[in-house]
């Protein structure tokens, strides 16, 4: 991997300072905050509970339902309150990223609601959201096989970097920026989500995914510590 000068001076495999805290919304069954540098996400879980309307109930197992939204003042250009196509897509992606580990077969006809809100954005928001959501699900006592840990890998010109910020998302030199958001089951490292925007060879993509799989170990360590110290803000 050729060394590239990152806008904020980080090493190629260096993640921004992370913070995590479990138990931030007293009303929720489970809740958590996760931060990558300036990107702050919070998540709250309610359920399993009865799903309304009845016709949407799955008679064989519970339903996982995620919503992702950015608050109006999380970005420079105010976002008009209300759902957008982008937030609806990311809601579904987050749901798919978490579903493989959630075991709600014992609760047919119910729903587990996961609400993700981005309070401050500096790229990699969906990754921060998924990290917060995974902690919130565990905190809520939802039966799970594993946690899910998420991170973004970027390609700036020809170099791979870990944890993309906004300046890197907008990288224009050379081959420009390729942004890859990915999530894995935390202990076993199986892929549960991947999205890519940019310009990359399959060889480098494989390298990027392996890089991501390695990088999430640090994310997982933080999520684990936060869950074992509810109410405390943990930084690594």
């Amino acid at each position: 991997m050729t060394t590239i000068k990152r806008p904020d001076g980080r090493k190629p495999d260096e993640i921004r300072p992370m913070k995590a805290k479990v138990g931030i919304v007293p009303n929720a069954d489970g809740s958590a905050m996760f931060q990558f540098g300036e990107t702050v996400a919070i998540a709250a879980v309610y359920g399993p509970k009865e799903l309304h309307p009845r016709n949407q109930r799955n008679p064989e197992k519970g339903t996982l339902r995620c919503t992702y939204n950015m608050i109006s003042f999380s970005v420079d250009d105010r976002i008009r309150p209300g759902p957008s196509r982008r937030s609806m897509e990311i809601s579904k992606i987050s749901e798919w990223a978490l579903e493989p580990v959630v075991m709600i077969g014992k609760y047919p006809g119910t729903v587990v609601d996961v609400h993700i809100q981005i309070l401050q954005a500096n790229a990699s928001t969906r990754c921060a959201g998924i990290n917060a959501a995974a902690m919130a699900l565990a905190h809520a006592g939802i039966p799970m096989k594993d946690l899910v840990s998420s991170i973004s890998i970027g390609k700036l010109d020809k170099s791979l970097v870990v944890d993309v910020n906004k300046a890197e998302e907008d990288w224009e030199e050379g081959e420009g920026a390729t942004d890859m958001a990915m999530s894995f089951t935390s202990s076993k490292g199986k892929l549960t989500h991947i999205q890519l925007d940019g310009h990359i060879t399959s060889k480098q993509l494989k390298e990027a995914v392996r890089l991501g799989r390695e990088a999430i170990k640090k994310v997982y360590a933080l999520q684990k510590k936060a869950l074992k110290n509810v109410g405390e803000e943990i930084s690594e």
Binding site: N27, A28, I42, F73, R78, Q117, Q120
Partner: protein
Amino acid sequence: MTIETPKLTIDRIRQYLTEGKRFDGRKLDEFRKLEIEFGVSNKAEGSARVKLGETEVIVGVKMDVGTPYPDSPDKGNLMVTAELLPLSSPRIDLGPPKFEAIEIGRVVDRGLRESHFIEFDKLCMEEGKKVWTIYVDIYTINDDGNLLDAAGIGAIAALKVAEIPKYDKENEKVLFGESSGKKVPLSKEIPISITAYKIGNEVVVDPTREEQDAAETKITTGITNGIIASMQKGESEDIDLETFEKMIDLSEKTWHDLNKKIEKFLK
């Protein structure tokens, strides 16, 4: 749904109040512990987090340049929006905005506007053509009652720290993230909205969620320096004049204490 406060508990709340007692040991005119933090998001022109007991809201101020309203060509604009986030309560479902969110937005708007807290004439760039619009966006994080007053305090706090962004005249662009160094023009006195809630024959301020469920009606009064600039009655029950006067008196009484507490945080 058992997420509602049981009628039994509501009866008890009413009973206790007749003896001047509240579930959490507070006096009828006592507010819960107030906490104000600033800088919820560094992308906002100003933002604050307010906690009243376990109730938590976050408020952000964003600004943009736009055209003035035809009937106020030399004044800036204000738009207040509130969202009841599903994450803040098991009672909130996905779907179109509930009336409570609209109410919070409107009541806070009224409180800000009628008190002339924001000096709108100082937000004019070019009369009839360009003025600053201030957006105040309120989000609930945890609902344990009295979101209204928490939102009002949050709006004041966020506005107090808000700074006007730089404006690139040549390209007619707002340079977000770059501050002009100037704060949003505000009058010195802060307007505080206090909602008095009627529960049985008693009147309280700052109810918890359970107490709010027990309340039949409420009145929100916006007070600045002893003068009432706005008022709104919510919910459907009628109020006899004696109780109404009790509610105004309670709001006025609580205003002084609350004002001092808020000022401490704003220093």
